[in-house]
């Protein structure tokens, strides 16, 4: 039976690789693969193939410290596997695997073997990555690092599985999750207390001078973990970490023996655990499928496939009028009730009520006003970078419904513009509130000098004028990439992966920054030109908003052209052809 499961696994892997290779026929995938491969080569492989690299700063004390730190980290991970999870043991199967394997005459043992075999694929991949990264920075023999990581990850994997079986067994025996957690946390607390007491009695108390240098701190840390109760608890974890830190082949072989024995023990434990996992596995696979659906719909991997709640519309939508407004209305509903005009007005009112008196007061601490002002101004600027990644109530969210959108009797640009409006409005609202707070509070420089209200208002108004078009441009870039390279982004048809997708993301990241910077050049140039020209005729405080208005007009023209072009792209967009590739 296991032969069939190995066949399933090997063929799936082979077909996946073959599909990836076939995709390289398309230039955009090939370019991504080349960039991804170049990145890997220059960052990792170049050093890997450069022969054995000496381990940097390897003194016996440092190695011992690494071993203790690694053991402590493993201990925390193992304790987490026992304390935090609340669900019953579930082996991760896909829905297809459940449909095929669970009703089939496959033994429980074979299913566990299949799961272990499949987890080895992920472990081998992670081993490769970790070896490349750690060897890049830590040096040492490649094969020792690789085998060391494999032993650590495989043992941890087996233990996590065994722990899930044990937790389920406890639940079956009527020991609730909270009772189990209480016992384990008590034991962990007792251990910490015992270790602390032991250290207090046996290790000289640290003096202030012990914290003066890193070496002294390392020494104290080492001393604490290497002796007393902590040393007994950490001993098995140190055994697991030790092969990875071996400095030569013989030391590695000697260190690997106990870990292999530990692995065999865990394997025996897993196979002997007579715990039903089928029902929980079915539930797990369903949740996994829901998560993938959320991911494909534009949500993050960690955003739960939660039930959508009914939300109040931000405003009443009349049946006639500009069609893009319908998309704004729809996407604001999607964004949630926090993003209504009332909320923004309330926030602006609060910003004025708090910032106004603060900024006008001369009794506030000297550091407070500049700090609040600078932090809010930085937040406003930072939102420009983070906003488009967080707010995805646009084409990225709706591309799964591309079929429906394409049926609408609207021009492509109307749909694109409509889709861009909601995140632009939300980002602009947030930035305006932050600017209001910054303008009202930032009445003093860090040096204590006063900043006149007129200057603050001038810069604030200027920034507020620029904000909407700046946001629009920053949102146009990821949305245009969705239309240009739907397979590079989650479009609802396929989840990206592989070296070529990594390369594509690198290209995309770099491209986004370049395009954004390039788009700002004409606006910045005009801003500077108008500012210097107007300074001759009017005050600088009046010139800043005026120059900002000209810059905003340039950016609006750029955005209008981009929206028109994206509309053309959308009209020609053929998701079915893309998915066939």
């Amino acid at each position: 039976m296991i032969g069939a499961l190995i066949y399933l696994q090997s063929q799936s892997l082979k077909n996946r690789l073959r599909a990836r290779l076939r995709r390289l026929k398309k230039p955009k995938y090939l370019a991504g693969a080349v960039v991804g491969a170049a990145y890997f080569y220059f960052f990792f492989f170049r050093h890997f193939f450069a022969g054995r690299r000496p381990t940097t700063n390897v003194t016996p004390e440092t190695l011992l410290l690494f071993e203790l730190v690694g053991a402590l980290a493993l201990f925390v991970m193992v304790m987490s596997a026992w304390i935090f999870p609340h669900e019953r043991a579930a082996l991760a199967f896909s829905e297809a695997e459940i449909a095929f394997l669970f009703p089939a005459p496959v033994t429980r043992k074979a299913l566990i073997h299949f799961k272990l075999l499949r987890s080895q694929l992920a472990i081998l991949f992670t081993t490769l990555l970790l070896t490349l990264v750690t060897r890049r920075f830590g040096g040492g023999a490649g094969w020792i690092r690789a085998l060391g990581w494999w032993l650590i990850l495989s043992t941890l994997n087996l233990h996590t599985l065994a722990a899930s079986f044990a937790r389920t067994r406890l639940l079956e025996r009527g020991i609730s999750n909270w009772r189990r957690r209480a016992v384990l946390l008590s034991a962990a607390t007792a251990l910490v207390v015992a270790a602390s007491l032991w250290v207090r009695h046996n290790v000289p108390a640290p003096r202030a001078s012990d914290f003066e240098s890193l070496e002294m701190m390392k020494y104290y840390f080492r001393h604490t973990l290497e002796s007393g109760p902590a040393s007994y608890v950490l001993y098995p974890f140190r055994l697991v970490v030790r092969p990875y830190l071996a400095t030569d082949g013989w030391t590695f072989l000697v260190a690997a023996g106990p870990v292999l024995a530990l692995m065999l023990f865990h394997y025996w434990w897993v196979m002997k655990s007579d715990v039903a996992f089928e029902e929980a596995s079915v539930d797990y696979s369903r949740k996994l499928a829901e998560k993938i659906a959320v991911l494909r719909a534009g949500g993050g991997w960690h955003s739960p496939a939660r039930r959508v709640k009914k939300k109040r519309p931000p405003f009443g939508l009349r049946p006639t009028g500009l069609a893009p407004i319908a998309f704004l209305w729809k996407n604001l509903i999607s964004a949630g009730q926090a993003f209504t005009l009332r909320t923004w007005l309330l926030l602006a009112f609060v910003a004025v009520c708090i910032g106004g008196p603060m900024g006008a007061s001369r009794r506030t601490p000297e550091w407070l006003l500049p700090t609040v002002g600078i932090v809010t101004a930085i937040l406003a600027g930072y939102s420009l970078l983070l906003g488009p990644a967080i707010l995805r109530q646009d084409l990225r969210q709706d591309l799964v419904n591309a079929d429906v959108l394409k049926m609408y009797p609207l021009r492509g640009w109307q749909i694109v513009l409509g889709e861009l409006l909601a995140p632009t409005a939300i980002l602009t609202g947030a930035q305006w509130c932050l600017l209001l707070l910054a303008a009202t509070t930032f009445s003093q420089t860090p040096g204590g000098g006063l900043i006149p209200l007129a200057s603050r208002l001038s810069i604030g108004v200027g920034a507020a004028i620029i904000a909407p078009t700046l946001n629009l441009i920053s949102l146009i870039i990821p949305n245009a990439s969705v239309l240009l390279f739907p397979s590079w982004v989650q479009t609802g048809r396929e989840r990206g992966g592989g070296i070529e997708v990594m390369g594509q993301r690198l290209i995309f990241m770099l491209g986004s920054v370049l395009i954004f910077a390039f788009a700002l050049v004409p606006a910045a140039a005009l801003f500077a030109l108008v500012l210097f020209a107007m300074k001759i005729f009017i005050s600088i405080t009046a010139a800043v908003p005026l120059a900002a208005a000209f810059a905003a007009m340039v950016m609006a023209a750029e955005a209008a052209f981009a929206v028109w072009w994206m509309g053309r792209l959308f009209e020609r967009f053929d998701l079915s052809a893309e998915s066939l590739s």
């Binding site: 939508l317 069609a323 999607s334 419904n401 591309a402 394409k406 009797p409 052809a577």
Partner: protein, 245 residues
């Protein structure tokens, strides 16, 4: 009226639909029939403007889909086998949104009537996640019919409906046809098509095998008068055996 001339859709070099021509007049219901992979869904997606045709002309109620897509789209509705809805809009909000997109003044009355006809009047505040598959299908239909389309495409419209729903759907389709809409239905449920359709168009590997009125086609493929139903016609026309030896 639906007028299709030389419709061709290529995926790279692969022809999903080849040189397809036919006409559906107002009041006619044409059943689009063919084995899996015959190009039925691709045809419907091209006709509704979801995917661009590689070659050919499509006219929807007089409007050329290629040169005047907006006018054509205002006159059509397409219902896919899998209803596509917005997870975060309620039933009524879907209608409000559709009304604005299709610019339907006074949509409230039509919307309420449609929801009553589809037995969804008590579900206006529910989200798609709270609806059964059949209800979702009905909501998609209500949204699509709000602007009173002259041309309607159904792709497997009876999937997920219970017997009562199937009967209502059949009656609804016939009512729209009676009101003058030109309708195309793609389905594998041949006995149901036989009940609803006035015309049949059979596709195989993207090419038209035959089209005509239901009566003519049944007669043409009868070995004895009255011995052929649409299922028999399907097997004889496409050369499929259906497992028969």
């Amino acid at each position: 009226m639906i007028e299709v001339e030389g419709l061709t859709k290529l995926y790279d070099e692969f022809p999903a639909v080849s040189e397809l021509s036919f006409v559906v007049h107002p009041g006619e219901v044409t059943g689009l029939v063919g084995p899996n992979g015959a190009g039925k869904t691709t045809t419907l997606r091209c006709l509704s403007g979801i995917i661009p045709a590689t070659r050919g002309t499509i006219r929807i109620a007089g409007a050329d889909l290629g040169t005047n897509p907006l006018a054509a789209k205002r006159r059509l509705a397409f219902f896919s086998d899998e209803p596509r809805l917005f997870d975060y809009l309620t039933v009524w909000q879907h209608l409000v949104f559709a009304a604005r997109i299709y610019q339907v003044p006074g949509y409230e009355e039509t919307g309420r009537r449609l929801l009553e006809e589809l037995e969804m009047a008590d579900k206006v505040d529910l989200l798609p996640g709270e609806l059964s598959r059949g209800m979702k299908q009905k909501l998609a239909i209500a949204c699509g019919l709000l602007h009173t389309p002259k041309v309607i495409f159904f792709d497997e419209p009876l999937t997920g409906l219970d017997p009562v729903g199937i009967r209502r759907m059949k009656n609804s389709i016939l009512k729209r046809a009676h009101d003058g809409a030109a309708i195309i239905i793609s389905s594998h449920l041949l006995h149901l098509l036989e009940e609803v359709c006035s015309h049949v168009l059979i596709l195989k590997t993207g090419r038209k095998v035959i089209d005509g009125t239901m009566g003519d086609i049944l007669r043409k493929f009868s070995e004895q008068p009255g011995d052929a139903n649409l299922e028999e016609v399907f097997f004889r026309a496409t050369g499929e055996t259906g497992g028969a030896t």
